[in-house]
Amino acid sequence: MSSPSDDALEGANGGIQAGRYYGRGIPYLNIGEYPGKLIAVEGTDGVGRSTQIQLLREWLEVKGYGVVETGWTRSPLMQPTIELAKSSNTLNKLTFVLLYATDFADRLEKEIIPALKAGFIVLSDRYIFSALARAGVRGVDRQWLRTLYGFAIAPHLVFYLKVDVSTLIRRVLAARGMDFWESGMDLKHGDDIYDSFRTYQNKLLREYASMADEFHFRNLDARRSIDNIQEELRRQVASFLEPVEQLKPAEPVAVR
């Protein structure tokens, strides 16, 4: 891995600008000023991301916002390829990363940017942070990854549903059981899927935690009730979308 010649993601220095490209961006796709907002909901498997997004979407639509959802590996271009590649044993950590990046690039160009330009609120179920965490755990150079994703747009808000590994295990087991990739079985931590899941998810959680400051995560305790989390989400989204209305009562009238 080479080290990039300049700061691609300037996050470490607090240089991230919400709504703009992280790094060098896509030169032929000038995003300029646009009316839409990008909100990412991040978190490992089984923390309730999709439930929260579903509820948030309904609430936003009732308030009159147009909402578009996008999610990891959902691009029409790449989804079949990724499924095929995961089912065979030919993927290595590098091709894994690049396939995900291709999927993301497709959704960014075809779904996310057009929706933002049209004034939609884009709710992203996972964002580049999942890819950065998974690849980071697999030993891919972190700076290279950040440069690679320099074409991504920094979301206006990033919510991170934070959970501990014990809670996570009980949830995943209750919901659907552990699967090969979520358990990091490709990392060969051992034959025991439970131990492997625990080790892998622990590493993932640490990787996410290490990105929290860099990418301005807003942490939400995923162990709380669905309603409780949703209430907090709505409060934060509302104060972001309607800053003017929020400020009104607090703004003192100027007195001579």
Partner: protein, 163 residues
């Protein structure tokens, strides 16, 4: 971007399965096109030059890079002599610069050649005049390669599929 990333994925796969193992075994790998093709082609399509170079940061730097250079007209004549129709992406038809495939090819590949010229200095490519006869070109190639090989060692070659 997706065009660029898909090719990088394909390249990563071939690098890890077909290029690195034979290199480790002490073999000679002959690559028909390498990352430089992507640098030239992706930049022409408007992808950031530095980003593409960083993207391919995982690639092994070749011991020798031969660049067979021809003027655009020669390239077009040669292709036309062999085939009836130019390929869609080869002619850069996706860019919408011209609805005429030949014209689009001329515009697109012309820019690709300009990009290659940048690469010559940046990466020290050895330029070979591809207008010369095949025999003459081969003579130049062998002349460039010989000093880099240790004589007497057994040589095995591996063919690489084009990108």
């Amino acid at each position: 971007m997706t065009f660029s990333l898909l090719h990088a994925t394909d390249f990563a796969d071939r690098l890890l399965y077909k290029i690195i193992p034979p290199l480790k075994a002490g073999m000679i790998v002959l690559a028909d096109r390498y990352t430089y093709t992507a640098f030239a082609r992706d930049a022409t399509r408007g992808v950031d030059r530095q980003w593409v170079r960083d993207l391919y940061g995982f690639a092994v730097r070749p011991d020798l890079v031969l660049y067979f250079r021809v003027p655009i007209e020669v390239s077009l004549d040669r292709l036309m002599a062999r085939r009836v129709k130019l390929k869609f992406y080869e002619a850069g038809m996706d860019l919408g610069w011209s609805s005429n495939p030949n014209e689009s090819f001329r515009l697109f590949q012309g820019k690709v050649l300009d990009e290659y010229d940048r690469l010559v200095d940046e990466f020290g490519l050895e330029v070979i005049d591809a207008r010369a006869s095949i025999m003459e070109q081969q003579r130049v190639v062998r002349h460039l390669i010989s000093p880099r090989l240790e004589l007497g060692e057994q040589l095995v070659t591996t063919d690489e599929q084009p990108v």
